[in-house]
Subunit: 454 residues, 2 copies
């Protein structure tokens, strides 16, 4: 028989705990601050938005948190996800590198997002909440939350960034098939949306604006809470099932990664894969470089400022210390809608600041070229977001062709692109362009960072 | 831990042979006939269209045919596919029935079609062929062949039924991403297409017309061959990997099916799942009812005539004895594009004629209702085609709620619906209708059946 190309896990091997990186860090991350007092936020400040179980996870100092049985029961619809060795891509590149990808596209939403949507819906349902509101960019997160809410019998209301809402009508259709209500954002359904539309009726939207709308609706109704698809500690915590599985699967493959590479928007896919490996690295059991890849048009880590800023555009969320391009910066409408976020997870930002991870940015044409190359060899059409990581994996593998190094590369293929095909058509027809880094816009947005004396 | 919901196979358990049902049948199926002489076709008659390896499989009397290593290497990008127990659907229905589904949506095309596309591309490449032509309805088959051709470095040219080409632009984008050229059918690129367009410039197309166009181009060039995505013996042969895997997986689940239900367009998905189980039934080792489900608007088995007819509309193919609605019957443009075929696999037709399988038809609204119900419980949005089988599975499971019977139902979930979301939107917005069975059109088409004296 030929060499293995997929490494599966049995039901019994699916992780039963999430991993919390925070207690293992040499230096603790800076706390979030109350937007008015600039004091560290306490659990009570977050109760209008989140149920207590999730708030407890957000600030937990436990290394491992048990996954509830009700959540595991839903996870098992698609988990464990496969780890693939990209032998056909390797052969096409003529590289001695060994490329592995952890594929999250087999989930109901076609991405990694249900890993956190399911526990978020579960804990809210358990707390008696009747409806969740949320934002979505490319639509992956909204689809995931719509699916998860259907599993636990609660309503789901989604504000989708208008640029994606218009580009990707099938995503809205999936959310509605799972039973959710979807608004384009900015919308006339919220006070903040109406304000934005009054200033600019053609505003293409941003994740920051959509968050403001969803938060506004949740904060106004005690029966309703808000769910965030990335950025926060508890979201990254839930995503660590990816990395815990991948650790077991890499062991089955008999390989240890020299380079782990993932795309970063809010950071949850990247963190989900990387954190369990970072634990092993901090413990001296392996030594991979862990590298984040972001779009050249929204290069939060590589060009942003490490400062306290709002997670949303309206300035309603707690202040988080993170790499940011400014909370009112609106990225160009690139097709990797999930990467169009002005900030970065505070935990990922802290790791970058501490030198525990590296980061690069990639322009979108190179990413789509990598995506097409991957599709034609491995058979999976990647979502535009993970093509950023694939571009780096391919670049590294081609470098190995020259050096002869048998580098082991592990990448997060966080979703497929079947609902992003308009972007591939645009690429194949030569209609896509690389967006310039909007230096002046960012410099302008950074002048409006909140002043925080800490 | 909870009860299992997925049954996986290891790499070593993936079948290494295809199963040929023909030698195990009590009565052999009628042979295909030459369209001019009405004599049984010999291998030489088929060489303009197919390479000799596939012709040999088409007429093989061996029970098992070895899968080439090069084909297995590609299969293993996604095979074995999972068998799921639909516990969350069962709970929602309150049924004592046990529902299993064999899910082919994890393939590169999102359906079962690559199971035959890969060996077809392989055998053609091995024979030195430089290009394959084909037709596609919903686009699943064209996507599969485009992927398979990319794996073996040959060109792929696809005629897609215009109704689907217009409804499903993402499918065309996927084919192009895999490197194929795509025409809407009828097209101006062929003599037959130009003739059809001259008669009716707005012709929505049909699989029969698209087959005629693809066959015309292949037959005219010795470097080019044609690939068919269903209907023929060798296609159903390749699809038996589905049923062979499902047999092993049902054994792991410790259950034996009382009812196997699959949708039928050309018959390859249904046959692929059913044939290995039918072998076991004929050998007296199990006794499942095996039931085909077809759309009410294109009810080939349940309302058609068992007669020799052409596989295509122009009358270029051999004559095959099959259930048919007439080779120039054009089905209504329902969303289950893959089921819009005037005929039925001769092998499936023979089984139905012999009383070895049963058949029913379902209207599209009931099917979409089943699809939405399935999506909200099991998390997979089914393609419109397999919702026909799900509608029957749900109907049977609900009957068991009343009778208390613990019926074991196995269904073929042959693909996901992520590229069919416009159909779900139309359904959710109340814009879908049930099409009347076009009795007069069919009666008219049947007057043009070829006269064959056998």
């Amino acid at each position: 028989m030929s060499e293995p190309v997929r490494y599966e896990l049995s039901d019994a091997e699916v992780p039963t705990t999430w991993y919390n990186l925070v207690p293992d860090l040499p230096v603790p991350p800076p706390p979030p601050l109350h937007p008015a007092t600039h004091e560290p936020v306490g659990p009570d400040d977050l109760t209008p938005l989140f149920p207590m179980d999730l708030i407890a996870q957000e600030v937990s100092t436990d290394s491992f948190i048990e996954i509830p049985g009700e959540v595991l029961d839903v996870y098992r619809l698609w988990r464990a996800t496969p780890l693939h060795r990209a032998r056909r891509l390797e052969a096409a590149l003529g590289t001695p590198a060994r490329i592995y990808y952890k594929y999250e596209g087999t989930s109901p939403a076609g991405s990694h997002k249900p890993n956190t949507a399911v526990p978020q819906a579960f804990y809210n349902a358990k707390a008696g909440i009747s409806k969740l509101t949320t934002e979505t960019g490319a639509g992956q997160w909204g689809t995931a939350l719509a699916f998860a809410c259907a599993q636990f019998g609660i309503e789901c209301e989604v504000w989708q960034v208008r640029a994606s809402y218009d580009q990707k009508p099938y995503r809205r259709a999936m959310m509605e098939t799972f039973g959710a209500t979807v608004h384009p954002s900015p919308s006339a359904a919220t006070e903040y949306g109406r304000k934005v539309l009054a200033d600019d009726p053609d505003n293409p939207g941003s994740l920051g604006i959509a968050i403001s709308e969803a938060v506004e609706v949740a904060a106004a109704d005690p029966e309703v809470r808000y769910a965030l698809g990335s950025v926060l500690n508890h979201v990254l915590l839930h995503q660590t099932v990816i990395g815990e599985e991948a650790l077991l699967q890499m062991a089955k493959a008999g390989d240890s990664p020299d380079l782990i590479v993932g795309c970063t928007g809010g950071g949850s896919n990247f963190g989900g894969l990387a954190f369990p490996f970072l634990r092993e690295k901090l413990a001296g059991r392996m030594a991979p470089e862990i590298r984040a890849v972001e779009p050249a048009s929204c290069p939060t880590l590589t060009r942003g400022t490490f400062a306290y800023d709002f997670g949303d555009t309206a300035g309603m969320t707690p202040l988080m210390k993170m790499y940011t391009l400014g909370h009112d910066f609106i990225p160009d409408p690139i097709h990797a809608g999930g990467l169009r976020y002005h900030g970065m997870s505070p935990l990922i930002s802290h790791l970058y600041d501490q030198g525990l991870i590296t980061a690069v940015s990639k322009p979108q044409l190179e990413c789509f070229e990598a995506g097409v190359r991957f599709a034609r060899t491995e058979g999976i059409v990647p979502a535009p977001e993970p093509t950023h990581a694939l571009a780096v994996a391919i670049e590294e593998a081609l470098a190995c062709r020259d050096t002869g190094e048998e580098k082991v590369i592990l990448t997060a293929l966080c979703g497929h692109g079947m609902l992003d095909m308009a972007a591939y058509t645009a690429y194949l027809e030569g209609r896509l362009v690389d967006h310039e880094y909007p230096l002046e816009q960012v410099q302008d947005a950074l002048t409006r960072l909140p002043r925080v004396d800490v």
